[in-house]
Symmetry: C2
Subunit: 455 residues, 2 copies
């Protein structure tokens, strides 16, 4: 029985099983759901075992449990590790939902529920693709599953869990379906994720707030100085001026940039949706490249002086800003933080003091289109969609993926099937049944190509 038929024949059961996961309100950010997290992990264990695993354990952590299951077909064969998460985002504001968030409904060809896409629906496709491979006797590689319950709150436990369980998680490639694709008729694979380097800067002038009349003009105003410093961080080509900032940036080949350029993009539509007259970014790069393969620097927050009701004529003692840099491969977030701090302290004039604090960072991730597992995924998409998937580079960050590569030494294939209209993290989250089905298909074809190509 081919996979299409298998899905058709078993779809009612598939959905019943998925719904049993979706009905558990596993909101990781709300402590009253601690019990639901455990229930959800246990339910996953049952489903993985039922799908054909040899064993599966629920590992307690200092946070929510991590589920790891596996099926070994041949100790010498290659191993695929599937990563997903069973925790979901909160559901407020409830009144904006058309259906109950934790009572899944099928309507208009979509599954409606919190987690329908992110990430219960998407990770469950892997369980069913695995089931088919086992039942059909086609599975030629070993498979592991790892489901965590803290993705939406920063995967706090998973970093150390990976370090402590390198043998358990040993694999040749990681499959992740927790991203999106360009459109239903435009398949894509996420080939890169940006990293992150957040800095907090504080400029201090006089030792107290001063009367802006008595002192204004003779004593440097920390807000003006902060504006000067921030303004100087980007030049008139839209480039970050921190010395060494671009040194480690991976430069993509012409072929890779050509592939990126194939993505449909309507600049007028984009501007209209944001209500801006013009776009702004680094010279020499397209909008898609600016958010995907190029780093940038932006201020996420700024404050200083008085901004309440009325107008207070004060020369404030301090001003501060939260500055975030999105990084790309192979920039190192710690090195960038150091370069930033050194530069910011250097450009600060002597009439103020500056304090620079490194707030948080995460590494960028890149899966070159020449990686064999990526190419196996490409073939799988072509089998199902009849066209080559476009590599996309997400501007956002999923730092755990870079951590997988660092600790486990393997690439992740980010084969997500979500759409922008799926309302993840928002009311009325949904996931197209058609994507659910095609996703399962693509994954089974991946197993085939991955095993064959490596054989």
């Amino acid at each position: 029985m081919n996979i299409k038929n298998y899905i058709q024949e078993n779809e009612t059961r598939f959905l019943d099983e998925l719904f049993s996961l979706l009905r558990i309100p596993s909101i990781s950010s709300e402590s009253e759901h601690k019990g639901d997290m455990v229930r959800c992990a246990e339910r996953w264990k049952e489903l993985i075992m039922a799908a054909g695993a040899d064993k599966c354990e629920v590992y307690p952590t200092d946070g929510n449990p991590i589920v790891v299951g596996q099926k070994t077909v041949d100790p010498n064969a290659k191993t695929v590790l599937v990563y997903g998460h069973y925790d979901v985002m909160p559901v407020d504001p409830l009144e904006l939902w058309n259906t109950e968030p934790f009572e899944p409904v099928i309507k208009d060809g979509k599954i409606w529920a919190r987690g329908a896409d992110d990430d219960k629906g998407q990770s469950f496709m892997h369980a069913k693709a695995f089931e088919y491979m086992v039942k059909s006797g086609n599975l030629k590689c070993n498979v592991k599953f790892m489901l965590e319950g803290e993705e939406e709150i920063g995967s706090t436990q998973l970093y150390s869990f990976c370090e402590q369980h390198k043998d358990l998680l040993k694999c040749d490639v990681i499959l992740v379906s927790d991203t999106g694709m360009i459109a239903s008729d435009t398949p894509s694979i996420t080939a890169g994720l940006r990293g992150l380097c957040n800095m907090i800067v504080k400029v201090t002038g006089p030792n107290r707030d001063l009367h802006s009349g008595i002192f204004g003009g003779a004593v440097a105003n920390p807000i003006n100085v902060l504006c000067d410093l921030i303004s100087g961080l980007i030049n008139d080509k839209g480039e970050v001026t921190i010395p060494g900032f671009y040194d480690d940036v991976v430069v993509l080949s012409k072929e890779e940039r050509d592939l990126i350029a194939q993505a449909p993009f309507d600049e007028e539509e984009y501007k209209k949706s944001l209500d801006v007259k013009a776009l702004y970014g680094e010279d020499g790069y397209s909008t898609i490249e600016r958010t995907g393969i190029r780093p940038n620097l932006g201020v996420c927050g700024i404050e200083g002086g008085y901004t309440g009701e009325g107008f207070k004529t004060v020369l404030p003692a301090t001003a501060s800003a939260n500055i975030s840099m999105r990084l790309v491969a192979n920039q190192d977030s710690h090195k960038i933080a150091e370069l930033f701090q050194k530069h910011f302290e250097k450009i600060a004039p002597d009439y103020v003091k500056v304090e620079v604090i490194s707030a948080h960072g995460g590494e960028a991730y890149r899966c070159g289109v020449d990686v064999p597992a990526y190419q196996a995924a490409e073939k799988a998409y072509m089998d199902v969609y009849g066209k080559r998937p476009i590599p996309t580079y997400s501007g956002g960050s999923i730092p755990i993926v870079a951590h997988f590569e660092k600790v486990l030494g393997v690439k992740s294939i980010l084969c997500g099937f979500g759409l922008a209209e799926d309302n993840i993290h928002s009311p009325n989250e949904n996931y197209k049944l058609d994507h659910f089905r095609k996703g399962i298909e693509v994954i089974t074809h991946f197993y085939e190509h991955f095993s064959n190509d490596l054989a």
Copy 2:
């Protein structure tokens, strides 16, 4: 009897009378003191009449009453108008006072009470100088008194009162003792006050807060743009770059700048008191000049994005700032507001929208050292202190003084006798008895020189 002896002989009565004013808690910003405002105005009327006025009226207004009294010695003689205010600042925090704020005490050669300096003590010197001039038969000019009860809350009623009572207030010069002098042994006259032009600017980028990963690098960040715009408002010489900004600025003569330079000023002490390593201001001017005779621009408040606990990676939709310009004679606050708005809108790039709102303004005031009444005052100080007073230029703003000139067409002589250590607006306000006595002396000498010089 000369003035020194007159003061000595009558000092107990002088202080009793002053204390009767100080005991009235005439706090204009606290509505429960409405009755005290009226009581204080009425007490002033009694004191002015007792000092020798022909008539005195308490004029009701939509706010607190205004007291106007006068003595006409000769309808053809020149007229001096004394301006002061009988309202005081609040007294919180009460626990920091060493004595009761509204129960005046003489201790260590000082009068301790709210209003002892600002402005009951200082304006009362004028009543006693006037009394002496009348009683001694030396008064050669007409004298008017005007006391308002809203100086500490922006003189809201006085602007229109002046416009509506031009004849009543007709005079040749206005005397005001509501400022300070450099030191007890360094007399000074305030020869200028800066004006004010406050602007609120708002920069809007996209129509909503965006994910800084998904959009960062392709869509302009309004905070970065605001920083660029603010940074561009001042050049590397510390000059404001708004075209036309300096066009109307009065350039002081070498003689005037030389006089200003005579003021004692210890830059190291100044920096130490502010805890700054270096000062910053417009090239080519001293610190005293930068705050006194030169305009400047500073940001009083800025906000945008997220600055709460933690770090939120957002590309915010908007950012805004409160920008204040201190002006000098003869800059017009309305014209400067227009120049600012035009310039700010012009330099804003097309990838953002900017909104510029004029918040509040007030005109600068200048009394040249060549004004005859100023020179009469100089002589009066020389009679009492044995040295020429230094002209000082206050960085702060007292917009009503510019309004007097505009509406009544006369200069004000700002002959204040307060010291920085008098704690005006703070707990333990005080006023030196020695300054109280010398102030009365100076004022009587002013009357003499003013009448003689004009005769």
